[in-house]
Amino acid sequence: MYRFDVRIGHAGFRVGSPWRHPIDTLRRLYAGYPPPEGGGATLTARIAPPRPLRRWLRPQAAIAGDHCLPDVVPMALRHALLALEMAMNMQVALGERRHLLIHAAAVERGGKALILPGESGSGKSTLAALLGEAGWRVLADEFVLIDLATLRVRPFPRPISLKNDAIVEMQARVADESRFGPLLTGTPKGALRHLRPKADAIARMDESAVPALILFPAFGFPSDSAGVSRSELFARLTEGSTNYIALGQRGFETMLRIVDTTPAARFAYPDSAAGLAIVDQFCSEIGL
């Protein structure tokens, strides 16, 4: 078993693979991340051949670890990096019980967090990546963690997974080639490439932020925006949360406080420049 230990925010991972290459790739992608606190990881994420033969012959990587879902389709070994990332995601999505998870990206400025929820294709990752190069600190890509006690956003700055057109766009904006992972083509999500957040986002991964604004992006449409009602906000945030139900009453109370205290809106945007402009406009309106 090849192994790489890493800390991302509050989570200490032990990542394992029977193949060497995926671990080497992962280690390069996570260059600059600290090791787990006190030297001890508490979450195991790994990949494994679905059958012994698949280690060598048309090799495939199945997602495994402490927490996993049954019947996840294994991937071709050339997509092992994606499989490892998904295995790490799975540990958080299914195991996290100290923070409320919101399916969203988030960025921070001046101690205040802008939360961008959305399903894949909404453009949330791309926007977070763009904002991360434009004076904001990337807090999270896939999972925004809300501390149940303080209601603050706990950074979980994983590399952002860029898809399809967003890859070229970010390559043009990020000069440091070493921040990119390898280009993966033909994945279930199309072309995919990871972008490590700026060093500052990693160095400050223990600095939490106050949720200040929630914006639901919709990419690929002429610019517009509209309010989001409290009931819809509650429904959408819980719908995308993998641990809301498991947190029981604490989850309900935390979600209610977020919904009560955080302004929310949705907006449509045709391209990155327009998206950034709308975000700026919203932020200046609420003094963010």
Binding site: M1, H10, G12, R14, G16, P36, E37, G38, G39, G40, A41, T42, L43, T44, R46, A48, A64, G65, D66, H67, G95, E96, R97, R98, I245, A246, L247, G248
Partner: protein
């Protein structure tokens, strides 16, 4: 860690974790999670000075166990409402019985499905009531359906269409094809009312059922957790007068003397459970094979010892079916697997 012995030690003797080095916590947690004993472990270690990251992981395991408990008790309540309406008072089995009765085996126990036992002649009524209450068949395969109905000790599993939870309705505690035939009517007759419209098995029968579940019905996967249940139950029940004598009588009645004896010996060896030696009998050479299989889990949480696993898998079929029937069953399963593969 090459096997799950450190987990067994941690459960039986929590102080043993104080000698772990930081890097070993990930291994212990991975093994515990894979064996679905992380919640139980978390409660056992609750008061110990443990490194901060591991302590937080255990806190999360306790939160998860608390959620599991709520969900399971709610399933009990919804099943009670559905079945009481048609005059059936279900007998809770395994985790739901432990949780509802507040038995020590419930502490931190991760909840799976709801298992209940009802009289064979009320099966149709129970099935209709549960379907009416929103449960649906988990399997539509006609071979599975007819196989269950003809040979198994339970209805095909039902899943609730909204809650996504599963209920297993038993009318006995071993398949009808198995070598041993526990007395289902006696289980029901000796059951104890615990709340209006709900019962649990008597203490001795509960141990017989746990031994049955561990040794007479399946390939020992999840066996460590089943054995831990037995340890927790015995430590409580053993204090009652005449418990061991009653256990011996009930084990004999249900043709389960040998599995109960083995379960006692295995619990004693792994968890130092206090057991009555006369009932447990002398150690057998073959016990070591069971121990080996129960601990077949490496520090990455992976199943290990493939040969031991295979042997117990083969045994599980052997003890559940006569040979000609086993052949027919495996043949149908294999053919079906090939058919589904050819679709891709």
């Amino acid at each position: 860690m090459k096997h799950a012995l450190p987990l067994a030690h941690a459960l039986a003797d929590p102080i043993s974790v104080l000698s772990l080095v930081p890097g070993q916590w990930a291994e212990l947690l991975a093994i515990a999670r894979a064996e679905r004993l992380d919640g139980s472990l978390a409660y056992r270690l609750a008061d110990l000075p443990i490194p901060e990251p591991a302590a937080r992981a255990l806190e999360e395991a306790r939160a998860q166990a608390e959620f599991d408990r709520t969900r399971l008790l709610w399933e009990v309540e919804m099943a009670r409402r559905a079945l009481n309406a048609v005059g059936i008072a279900p007998i809770l089995l395994k985790g739901s019985a432990f949780a509802f009765a507040g038995l020590p085996a419930a502490v931190g126990r991760s909840a799976g499905d709801l298992d209940i036992l009802i009289a064979h002649d009320r099966l149709d009524a129970a099935e209709a009531a549960l379907l009416d209450a929103g449960f649906e068949w988990a399997t539509f395969d006609s071979y599975d359906q007819s196989y269950y109905r003809r040979w198994m000790h339970e209805l095909p599993p039902l899943i609730h269409k909204d809650r996504g939870t599963m209920i297993d309705v038993h009318h006995s505690i071993l398949p009808l094809t198995a070598r041993r035939t526990p007395d289902a009517a006696a289980l029901i007759a000796a059951s104890i009312d615990i709340a209006p419209g709900l019962s649990i098995l008597s203490p001795a029968d509960m141990i017989v059922h746990a031994a049955c579940h561990l040794l007479a019905d399946g390939d020992l996967s999840g066996g460590l957790r089943n054995l831990w249940d037995i340890d927790r139950l015995l430590r409580l029940f053993a204090a009652a007068p005449n418990f061991w004598r009653t256990l011996g009588e009930r084990a004999a009645l249900h043709q389960m003397r040998e599995p109960v004896a083995r379960a006692l010996r295995l619990a004693e060896r792994l968890f130092a459970t206090p057991v009555e030696l006369r009932l447990a009998g002398h150690d057998r050479m073959v016990d070591s094979l069971y121990i080996r299989r129960l601990l077949a889990r490496d520090g990455w949480g992976r199943p290990s010892r493939p040969l031991s696993r295979l042997a117990f898998y083969a045994r599980s079929h052997w003890i559940r079916m006569p040979p000609t029937m086993l052949g027919r069953h495996l043949w149908t399963k294999a053919r079906r697997q090939r058919m589904s593969l050819s679709r891709y």
